[in-house]
Amino acid sequence: MSDILKKLNLFPDKIDYRSWLISFLIINFAFLYHTLNFIWGNHDVKFVKEELLWSSGLFEGRFTQFIPYRLMMDGQILPILNNLVGFGFLTLALWLLAKYWNVKKSCLNYVLFISFFATQPYTLSWLYFSFITISCLLWTFLAVLGLYLAERVYSSSHKIALSFISISCFYLTLGGYPPVINMFLVCLGGKILIEYVFAKKEIKQLFVIYKYTIINILLAAILFKLSLKIFNPDNVYNLELEALNNWITKFFYVIKIAFNQFFIAVPFMEKEYKFFLAFISFIAICGVVSYSNTYRTKVVTVFLVFAVILSTALTTFLVVPHTEYVSRIDFYGFAFLYALFIGILLSFSPQIYRSLGIVAAVVLIVWNILNDYQALKIWQQGRDAEFQILEDLTSRIENNHKFDSAKKYRFYQVGDLSLRPNYYHGKYDYDDVFLLSIPYLAMWQGANLIEFYSSSSFINRETPLLPEDITSDVYKFFMNEAKPWPHKNSVYLNDHVIIIIYNQVGLDEFRAKLQSLLPFINK
């Protein structure tokens, strides 16, 4: 094993071990509050109580998503370990990326590079859902490993073996979370830029070396698409691809988005923070361009920078749903662009750039950690507030004279409540649901939530609310008397159904649905 690692230049030395350990500790410190308090999100309710199955992700085409959980934890979401293992993979991924991008090797550089990336609030978006934390952080490692091995194909005598492993890495990651494709291109683009500017390689030469990487990514993407045909997932929103005839208009739209990303503030990444990062990015770009000697190389360098920036929005270009300014997507794209700029500054020959890189990285790591802790405080407060409502609702149901815990009720949750935003007073241009506004008490998780801490199982899981449940009494109640929580009429209970109303918007929608049923209601 050690021979193989040595051949691949992956055998860690003292600097690697030390930087890996220090970075791992810094990352864990940044998210310690989350690790210790087991703050799981709204998709996790069922999986925290039960377990993840091999097939849990198939319905949305995420066929490899739960392989890591099944292999490592028997399908369980385990407190503390979930984050530790995830951060372990992320640290490894970034260490490998530092090697791939030829970040100047020193313990300080590696620690700053790894810690800067991992502590960015983008990482928080993968902590919100505990059921995919490990997988989605593992994908970063597999993606970089795939890129690293693909680069070696050119100079290796084991071309097929290396390509096979590389394709497998890309395929597994695409099967788990397709937007990871942003990362493939940003990291590859970054590598080509670095090789062109600093190693002074010609574009032609670079193409010869990196054609294997491009081919491997394409083959993995084709395999991924074929697999989707086999697994035949449901017709869900996140598999909708943009039609070819929209590509030109979408391209210009995406250019705008790609550059807007530098300035659009999202929760916990506010204007000042974004502008500081934009400034650092600008310095790095200026440095890269000025490093090129001739006019031609300067033009090519600018073009390469432009291409890398553009590739951060590749997913937005390819799919129909709006994925712009979404932290979990940007984690695989834009966050790596920032890392590229920091890596370039840390590796630059002129001392002034290196010093600037070190100072910027230190400042940003501290800033990141402050943002992370602010976010986690707000997450905890919002979660506590929402779960207090759940607790009060449980009491309300149990105390109802009509309630019989031995019965099975059809259950419906009208609307939902998101209380995290109540505790956040920062300014942002674009909301990010995963970082701030998605509710813990999600409407579609109502049944799982209400039974999570309850002392009995009283929800009928086989049948949802039926049209025949809407009798004239039910209809009248909801049209005239129902009010959102905490009003006493926010909980409706009869012999067959339990309906709880969280907010007015949900109630209005529910009323509209009821009106459509009006002709069928037995008066």
Binding site: L36, D74, Q76, L78, P79, T394, E398, Y453, S455
Partner: protein
């Protein structure tokens, strides 16, 4: 004897070995010790300290000695568990280094082997009750010291060491008699090691075993005499967990015990599932096969068979010695033969010994195997430990939420009087931990590891008062015939329903009745019917 300087040198040299195993153990149960989740016997003791005499009632006269000495008799968050872990790891280390005398250059491997044994899920039941966690985790250190003392006594022919060993073992048995398993298991392992290294004959084994047997018998005799003394002074009750088997019973039980010991390697139990039991079985079976295969003569083969028989018997030694006619309903839920708490004092040492045994063989295959198995065990153990922690945590939270709702219902009742000290009659219990656990096929037992509720009905006052602004409950469970009134009669005879029905709670001036389960309701009805007869005859005849 070791002096302070030597101890410091050892800690300096071996801290890496100790810390890897310690960290693995801490990680495996981190949610538990970071969140301070306690069990159903701990409520009162969390507020009031544990007295030195607290364990006398069941003959555990030394149970609270160490906790009084080191933790002021208090259940302290984090320290209670983490200090216990440290003592436990230290025990395993001392056993490896000074009892078995293992010297392997690769410190990382030693720490892996210790970690694999230490983090095995047999520890989970010890972490349920905080009031005994520290002492139960500390007994291995005492047993380890007793074993080292016997070894010294054997080498130096010193009575001082012999009596030191006896005294230590006596203190251990006074704290938790089932810890005897560890002493016996490790003594047999030591004989196995002796025979493996020098092919000593049967008589020599007997001669080498004699000090162990004498220390054991003396300690057991002293324990029995102490029990008699305590009972004579009315300080101790004759409970299920201090009754021993008769000599004839020992013979009758032998087959069952051997069967249970072997079955213990295979039988799935809560948190001890296949992913732990399979590597455990592979490890033990490989050890047995190698041990038998390396016998150089027929007599050596038979001696080895005999030693293995003793080893298997010693795994359930405490269950063999204890009486089957125990008086508690719990014994059917958690039979001594499959009690994880007692297995903690035997199976982890088999893991430790077997790993070292295989590694010390000359074949590379066996060395690799011991390495791989230790890694597999550690990974499985961390998963099992964290799974236990999660289930314990979520169960604890959900039952506490239920308790809050029950208390709210009592206090919102129009008949509830402020500052009145109530008698709570809690009919039944509501264990919820199992709702957060995915069991595998054919799992058995594990009452305390998974099923026990956090609220035992007979100590209702402890937890109903725990978070209350004042003690509104004075006692639990008993209905005094003098206090029975027609409303109570109506409630129990006709209205009473199971929680969360509005008719699950009854409150009057003195009593609050809470019906939490159907079993509880039926028991209460049965109990009340008997009382009600006398009540009606007194009042209405």
């Amino acid at each position: 004897m070791l002096n302070i300087k030597q101890i410091i040198t050892i800690l300096k040299n071996e801290w890496a070995v100790l810390s890897v195993a310690f960290l693995v153990l801490c990680l495996s149960f981190s949610p538990l010790w970071l969140n301070f989740i306690w069990g159903n016997h701990d409520w009162q003791l969390l507020i009031h300290d544990m007295q030195l005499s607290s364990g006398l009632i069941e003959g555990r006269f030394s149970q609270y000695g160490l906790v009084n000495l080191l933790l002021m008799g208090k259940i302290l968050p984090i320290l209670n568990v983490v200090l216990g872990f440290f003592f436990y790891i230290l025990a395993l280390f001392l056993i490896c280094k000074y009892y078995f005398g293992y010297s392997i250059d690769n410190k990382f491997l030693i720490s892996l082997f210790i970690a694999a044994a230490a983090s095995s899920p047999y520890i989970v039941e010890l972490l349920y009750f905080h009031f005994i966690t520290f002492s139960l985790l500390s007994w291995p250190l005492f047993v380890g010291l007793a074993l080292i003392a016997v070894k010294m006594a054997e080498v130096k022919h010193s009575l001082l060491y012999f009596f030191t060993a006896f005294l230590i073992l006596f203190v251990v048995l006074g704290g938790y008699p089932a810890a005897i398993n560890m002493f016996v298991v490790l003594a047999v392992c030591y004989m196995i090691k002796q025979h493996d290294e020098s092919y000593i004959g049967f008589l020599q084994i007997l001669r080498k075993s004699l000090p162990y047997i004498m220390v054991l018998l003396l300690a057991m005799l002293a324990l029995k005499l102490t029990f008699i003394f305590l009972q004579h002074k009315n300080l101790m009750l004759d409970l299920y967990n201090n009754q021993s088997a008769t000599v004839s019973e020992l013979f009758q039980k032998l087959y069952d015990i051997i069967k249970a010991s072997c079955w213990g390697f295979i039988q799935s139990q809560p948190f001890l599932k296949g992913d732990f039991k399979i590597p455990l079985t592979i490890l033990f079976v490989t050890f047995v096969l190698v041990f038998l295969k390396t016998a150089n003569s027929l007599s050596a083969f038979f001696i080895r068979l005999m030693l293995l028989f003793c080893l298997i018997l010693s795994l359930k030694f405490s269950a063999w010695l204890s009486s089957d006619n125990a008086d508690s309903a719990l014994t059917s839920l958690d039979p001594a033969k499959f009690m994880v708490r007692t297995d903690f004092y035997s199976y982890p040492y088999i893991i430790l010994f077997s790993l070292f045994y295989l590694y010390r063989q000359n074949k590379q295959f066996l060395k690799n195997m011991s390495f791989i198995l230790s890694i597999l065990l550690i990974l499985g153990n961390i998963n099992a430990g964290l799974s236990f922690s999660k289930v314990h945590w979520l169960g604890f939270v959900s039952e506490n939420k239920l308790l809050e709702r029950v208390i709210a219902r009592i206090q919102e009742n129009p008949n509830f009087i402020n500052y009145q000290a109530y008698t709570i009659v809690q009919a039944g219990e509501f264990p919820l931990r199992e709702r957060y656990y995915q069991s595998s096929d054919n799992e058995k037992y594990g009452y305390y590891t998974l099923k026990a509720p956090y609220f035992r009905h007979w100590i209702a006052f402890e937890y109903y008062n725990f978070f209350a602004p004042y003690d509104f409950v004075k006692e639990g469970t008993f209905i005094n015939t003098q206090a029975i009134n027609p409303d109570m009669v109506n409630f129990i005879a006709s209205d009473m329903k199971v929680w969360p029905s509005p008719f699950a709670v009854y409150v009057d001036d003195n009593y609050a009745i809470v019906v939490l389960s159907e079993v509880g309701r039926d028991n209460l009805k049965g109990q009340f019917n008997a009382l009600n007869l006398s009540y009606t005859s007194r009042k209405f005849k």
